[in-house]
Amino acid sequence: MMKVGIPRGLLFYRYFPLWETFFESLGVEVVVSGLTTDETIQKGSKLLPGDLCLPMKIFFGHVESIKEEVDFLFIPRYISIEPEAYMCPKLIGLPDMVLCVTDSLPRLIDEPIDCRANGGDTERSFYLKAGKIFSKDRAKVGRAYSSGLERQARFRSLLRKGFSFEESVGYSRSTNDSEKLKEEGRMRLGMIGRPYYTHDPYLRKLIREQIEKKGFQLLTSDILSDQEVESGVEKLRKRIYWSFGKELVGSAIRLARDRSILGIINLASFGCGQDSFNFEMIQHTIKEEVPILSLIFDEHLSSGGFSTRIEAFLEMIVRGLEKR
């Protein structure tokens, strides 16, 4: 059986269920690299120029660890996922960077996904092209894509209900409806960050779990539907033309409107160009409504530095509550 490797980084944390179901329906084995460790980060940092962001380094570390076990590496070129919007330049150049930096690679599946133009090339045609490698039967590929989409929709709705990334990936395999018990009475904070910041277990341990241990409930942009995100950004003077940027700013504005949210934590990686502007928009729009803490990380992570700042922020929020 053919093996397709998926590095556990970047858009893995957004699209994995779709990818997995798509390939499995075509009778291909999916191999995912292991969890992020210190070694992953070291491997990636050694390969890349120092100024690239941490998620990139993590991704390259995963490519390095998986490349010898598989027949294909799945690294699509995400140019745009919706009309008149772009992804990050680094995601657009990702397959080229992998080809230039890593040697002895298996064959890459690196077709572009480009939905920039209205009514032009769509996501579907990308999967049809990618599926052609494994099956000549166009209808079968189409069916694989549809079942992938169904699973992806279930996955997103599970995330919206408050399940963690791993739970959502697991439960979305079956069509049974799962309900999460509502946790009442906990203090709620919003968390703004790209899926590969908020879901990577390595980073989650450093930041998210520290906060949750203190008895706070964290709401990420995953709990909002696309319409809710859209309603957050509709009043901005200019549409944000980065898909993730729109999601971050839109959900920050939406979460800030929610009275039960006591503070917002912004995650960004060191030197991220888009997030510097996104955060400026967030601060500008909501700074009077709710306190914001911005945490910036790079490959020299230390949990100590974060916990001091997180503790101070949480203490400030608790004190504010007592005064009220």
């Binding site: 772009y86 080229d96 930096v101 003077r237 033309y241 980065w242 997030d275 502007f277 928009m281």
Partner: protein
């Protein structure tokens, strides 16, 4: 209406006399200095890029001098440039300035640009605007022509300083030419000067400068590395020129090739999709330079520039494959001219040693 346009290379010399002649009042702030950058850095987001900070500082200085409308093209793409206008307007308004920010929905479209000029320059006739716009573009290409020739002839000069004089006099001549026929006449005169200059025959080192548009073109952002290299007797070629950049969009020079397409052809084995900014030009032109006898390449870009980081990663491979030395200069507000000079000298030494080998 007092209009101000941020500096970008020699752009101000191309548009200023033309617009002034058409009755638009122009506010030219001082050339960006340390103060400009400090102002920009103080008010900009931490990880904003150097072009953002310098143009923001320049805008503050222009507003202090009484400008009431600012031109910043806007647009959209993977690079942050398209969002400059919004964030800068936000910051300037918070500082309490009153002004109009002129930006186009799509600055690559001629119609949008003309509409924008109509709005912020307060000019009426549409035909006149088209004429004005193309005159500015053509003047820009004459300035670029002058500078390209300067870089080409400078290393051969016998009497030190002769070329710099030609550059200065030629610049004034082009600045004063306000029609196509005048421009052509001036160009003829300038090319005679170039021909008459005494030359020695030694073949100089040839260095290419590639990277992000603003840092490649503007001396306030690149510490004047192009001039420094020229003064050392090195021939300089660049990956991007403002007139080529504009020509790729507005096609005002029918016989000049589309440079972006040319670059993507050369970049094809390494970078197959345009990933914003000048990443394609940086990779493509490096390959082109390596194949056309350029001995070393300097890759210059602002700190946190996303497209050029892609290019940097890819250039690591190009450097190995084509055996061409590449010096990467990443510029931010802490970069000191002294540090850049040392690195340039070391790089030039390396190139000289390679040639002797």
């Amino acid at each position: 209406m007092r209009l101000s346009v941020p500096y970008l290379g020699m752009l101000h010399r191309a548009y200023e006399p033309v617009l002034r002649n058409a009755g638009v009042e122009i506010v030219l702030p001082p050339r960006p200095t340390k103060r400009t950058l400090d102002l920009g850095t103080k008010h900009a987001p931490e990880f904003a890029c150097l072009p953002f900070k310098i143009t923001l500082g320049s805008m503050i200085e222009a507003l202090e001098l009484g400008a009431d409308s600012i031109f910043m093209p806007g647009g959209w793409g993977p690079c942050r440039f398209g969002y400059f206008d919004v964030i800068q307007e936000q910051i300037l308004r918070e500082l309490g300035f009153q002004f109009t920010m002129g930006s186009a929905r799509n600055p690559d479209a001629l119609r949008d640009m003309i509409e924008l000029m109509k709005r912020i320059a307060g000019l009426r006739s549409k035909a006149g605007l088209y004429k004005l716009f193309f005159l500015i573009l053509i003047r820009m290409s004459f300035f670029d022509w002058l500078l390209k020739n300067y870089f080409r002839h400078k290393p051969y000069e016998m009497n030190t300083g002769e070329m710099d004089q030609i550059l200065e006099r030629g610049g004034h001549l082009i600045e004063e030419s306000l029609s196509l026929s005048q421009l052509l006449k001036s160009a003829c005169r300038i090319s005679v000067w170039f021909k008459k200059m005494k030359k020695n025959g030694e073949r100089p080192l040839k260095v290419g400068i590639v990277g992000e548009l603003f840092t490649v073109l503007d001396s306030s952002a690149n510490m004047g590395i192009d001039m420094r290299l020229a003064q050392k007797g090195i021939e300089v070629v660049k990956s991007v020129w403002l007139s080529d950049f504009l020509n790729d969009r507005f096609r005002f020079k029918p016989f000049r090739r589309n440079q972006l397409k040319l670059s993507s052809r050369y970049a094809r084995p390494y970078l197959r999709s345009h990933s914003g900014g000048e990443s394609m030009e940086s990779v493509g032109k490096t390959v082109f330079f390596a194949k056309s006898g350029v001995e070393g390449v300097i890759h210059i870009f602002p700190f946190t520039c996303m497209p050029e980081l892609v290019a940097q990663t890819i250039l690591m491979k190009v450097q190995k494959d084509l055996d061409i030395p590449i010096l990467t200069l990443i510029i931010d507000e802490h970069t000191a001219p002294g540090g850049v000079e040392t690195r340039l000298e070391a790089f030039v030494d390396l190139l000289e040693r390679r040639r002797r080998r």
